[in-house]
């Protein structure tokens, strides 16, 4: 215990008990200036401390994130990729297309390269790859829908069926329902050009797709007989030629549509012609040219056909504007 010779910290009534703070009015101008400066410095110090605290917090969060990332990078095994698609591609196809090595880790994947690998297939329109921590790769796909098909021969002369999407992309369809594929018309009158490992898109397919879509939705009884759609005169004359099959005595061989006219009206005119010819003409039309605005040229078969049995009740087109058409006979 130390007892110094001079105790300047006495207990009891000591000068140390004297209140040292003075009222603001008792501060001199120099004192006030000094006090304000102290406040500023305290505020600056406080801000600095807060900034330091935030920095420590940020560092801690970053450190923990890095730790999590490091954990992911060093995760033992990548799980099976997950597929989310609006089409028909199976998960196995994605797995095969990605061809991820067994040693791959989630953080080591080159998503851009993998995405390009998926999009290299024509059926995939858009592919989005996301990492789902800790170990899963998620592939979200938007697929193309085929509107037609065509047949080519590979180098060995083996016929190969390809599908064509609305945007003209030619691709091998994977996992489509075969029944659906058989309903697609064939394309003709085109020249396929190689592009990379596949084919260059077919130009003018948008016109074909619109025609087919209109026919499929508005006149399916006509569409189902369409076998071939030729684009041979599309570029030069703006005409689409549709070859049909003779089903149930409809001796129809060729229909010519104009790209410049409304497909809906053209189909209605065709339907009207077929209806009239069945009811009133004893010969069957073999070629209908709908490219004339508001009119049609019909080439009839030279033979007289036997009277066909009454057609089953069905909807049909009226070439007149819908306003004058009886409602009971329209359902589209």
């Amino acid at each position: 215990m130390s007892h110094s010779a001079t105790d300047s910290m006495p207990r009891g009534r000591s000068w140390r008990n004297i209140r040292q703070e003075v009222t603001p009015h008792a501060l001199s101008s120099r004192g006030r200036k000094r006090r304000h400066l102290n406040w500023l410095k305290s505020a600056a110090l406080g801000a600095l401390v807060l900034a330091a605290a935030w920095g420590v917090h940020w560092a801690a969060v970053t450190w923990s994130d890095r730790a999590a990332l490091a954990k992911v990078v060093h995760s033992p095994k990548l799980a099976e990729p997950v597929l989310i698609t609006d089409g028909v591609l199976p998960q196995k196809w994605v797995k095969d297309a990605l061809a991820l090595p067994a040693s791959a880790r989630l953080m080591s994947l080159d998503l851009a390269a993998l995405r390009a690998r998926l999009q290299a297939h024509g059926q995939v329109q858009v592919a989005v790859l996301t990492r789902s921590f800790p170990d899963t790769l998620v592939a979200t796909l938007r697929e193309r829908t085929p509107v037609a098909r065509l047949q080519v021969q590979d180098g060995a002369g083996t016929p190969q069926q390809l599908l064509v999407a609305r945007d003209g992309t030619v691709y091998e369809g994977v996992n489509y329902d075969q029944d659906m594929i058989t309903t697609l018309p064939w394309l003709a009158g085109i020249t396929l050009r190689r592009q990379g490992a596949g084919y260059a898109p077919i130009s003018g397919m948008d016109a074909v797709a619109r025609l087919l879509a209109t026919a499929q939705t508005e006149a399916p009884w006509l569409y189902r007989d369409w076998i071939i759609v030729s684009l041979a005169r599309l570029a030069s004359h703006g005409e689409l030629m549709v070859r049909t099959q003779d089903v149930g005595g409809h001796r129809m061989e060729e229909i010519v549509f104009s790209r410049k006219q409304d497909y809906y009206k053209q189909l209605a005119r065709l339907d009207f012609i077929l209806e009239q010819s069945r009811d009133r003409v004893d010969r069957l039309p073999v070629r209908v040219d709908l490219t004339l605005d508001g009119q049609a040229t019909v080439l009839f078969d030279g033979e007289v056909q036997a009277r066909l049995p009454a057609a089953p009740a069905r909807t049909f087109f009226n070439p007149q504007p819908p306003a004058v058409q009886p409602k009971a006979r329209r359902d589209f």
């Binding site: 215990m1 130390s2 007892h3 110094s4 010779a5 001079t6 105790d7 300047s8 910290m9 006495p10 207990r11 009891g12 009534r13 000591s14 000068w15 008990n17 004297i18 209140r19 040292q20 703070e21 003075v22 008792a26 501060l27 001199s28 120099r30 004192g31 006030r32 000094r34 006090r35 102290n38 410095k41 305290s42 600056a44 110090l45 600095l48 401390v49």
Partner: protein
């Protein structure tokens, strides 16, 4: 450059004539480096007491600001010299029997006897400034530290310095008005004595007289410790007044005359010897008797010293004051004052000289007290009396940046 382990402390003396502020960098609680000096003529202070707060603040803050500017740093706290006619002191001692069975003095015995010796109540309105312990006595023999020694009876005495609470507060508030805290209050006489005398001189016995403009402080050391302290509300101003009255001149003229021709002893024998009042020999200037001037000075100084001797009373004995008398303060520059002191006290007297570590520019006696405040504070800090808090760590370092 201010190091991170140092503190910037101000030592301030609010005197009657001048307010002096020093900025000192204290490193590791031991080493002192004076880095700034500020001096301003005092106003609003009479006989060491604040009578006009605003005027006193103006002068003190001017000195503090000057010291800070010269130091290039902001003061963190202030050690303040305290003087004034209101200060008083008394001696109180106590004794206690050693409690342990083997008569070994324990820390508890020491603590008990110290508490008893300091227990005395002060009159109303008084506040303690210092409690200065004298050496312990164990069975009558003086011992610096009785712990673990063997004995029956332990005695100790304290020299307790106290002052008028309001006047002490006024002094502190002058510093507070500069938005600074007074961390230590040091009696001016102790400060001067601490600086101007060596431990050896204090052991032999020495009397230190700090004669200022309005106040005379004194401290008597015996056997290495403080035997008495005191304050007289008399200083150089009184001498000036007496000269003014005696020679029928203005106070300013008297002050000039005192500084030029004043003496504390009569040296002139020729009654006809004259000195010029203003020294300019211009219109209105006149001659005054040098003998009269010296007689007045001698009488007043003699009287002052006699009063000090009288106040010391039995505590002062020439045979116990081997190191003589040391004079300091502005009035100590009066020629012959050492001779007068030697005659009055019957001891060799000299003007105090600051130690060698004090820079030349601070050798002036007016800096004795503030330098002594530092020295006294540091010594006590070393004795664990002044709490020197460690100032390490990041926050303190940051704080220092903004200080």
């Amino acid at each position: 450059m201010i190091s991170s382990s140092s503190r910037i402390i101000g030592a301030v003396e609010i005197g009657t004539g001048k307010t002096v502020a020093l900025a000192g960098e204290i490193t590791r609680g031991r080493s002192l480096n004076i880095i700034g000096v500020g001096v301003a003529p005092s106003r609003g202070v009479m006989k060491g007491e604040v009578v006009d707060y605003k005027a006193a603040c103006e002068a003190a803050h001017q000195a503090l600001e000057m010291a800070e500017k010269r130091a290039g740093a902001r003061l963190e706290e202030v050690w303040l010299a305290q003087t004034g006619g209101h200060l008083d002191a008394f001696y109180n001692e106590a004794s206690a029997n050693v409690k342990s069975a083997d008569n070994t003095v324990t820390a508890m015995d020491i603590s008990t006897v110290c508490a008893l010796a300091k227990e005395k109540e002060l009159p109303a309105g008084r506040t303690r400034i210092h409690e200065i312990r004298r050496p312990f006595r164990l069975d009558g023999r003086a011992v610096p530290d009785p712990e673990h020694l063997t004995g029956h009876r332990l005695e100790v005495g304290y020299w307790i310095v106290h002052g008028h609470e309001g006047k002490v507060s006024d002094n502190i508030h002058v510093v507070g008005g500069y938005h600074l805290e007074v961390r230590e209050l040091v009696l001016s006489s102790l400060a001067s004595g601490s600086l101007l005398t060596s431990a050896e001189e204090r052991a032999h016995g020495v009397l230190v007289l700090d004669i200022g403009k309005g106040i005379t402080d004194y401290v008597l050391y015996r056997d290495g410790s403080v035997a008495a302290t005191g304050t007289l509300a008399v200083g150089g101003d009184h001498l000036t007044n007496d000269i003014a009255i005696g020679l029928r001149i203005t106070t300013a003229q008297a002050e000039t005359l005192k500084l030029r021709h004043g003496r504390a002893t009569v040296q002139t024998r020729d009654k006809s010897e004259k000195v010029w009042l203003n020294g300019e020999m211009s219109f209105g200037d006149r001659q005054v008797s040098k003998l009269a001037l010296e007689t007045i000075g001698s009488a007043r100084v003699w009287e002052l010293l006699e009063v000090v001797r009288k106040k010391l009373g039995a505590k002062f004995a020439p045979e116990h004051c081997g190191a003589g008398v040391v004079l300091t303060g502005g009035t100590s520059r009066l020629p012959g004052i050492d001779e007068a002191a030697a005659r009055v006290f019957g001891l060799p007297a000299r003007r105090g000289e600051a130690p060698g570590w004090v820079k030349d520019e601070l050798q002036n006696p007016m800096f004795s007290t503030v330098l002594g405040v530092f020295q006294f504070g540091l010594r006590n800090a070393h004795d664990h009396v002044v709490p020197v808090r460690p100032k390490g760590g990041l926050l303190n370092s940051l704080g220092r940046i903004f200080a």
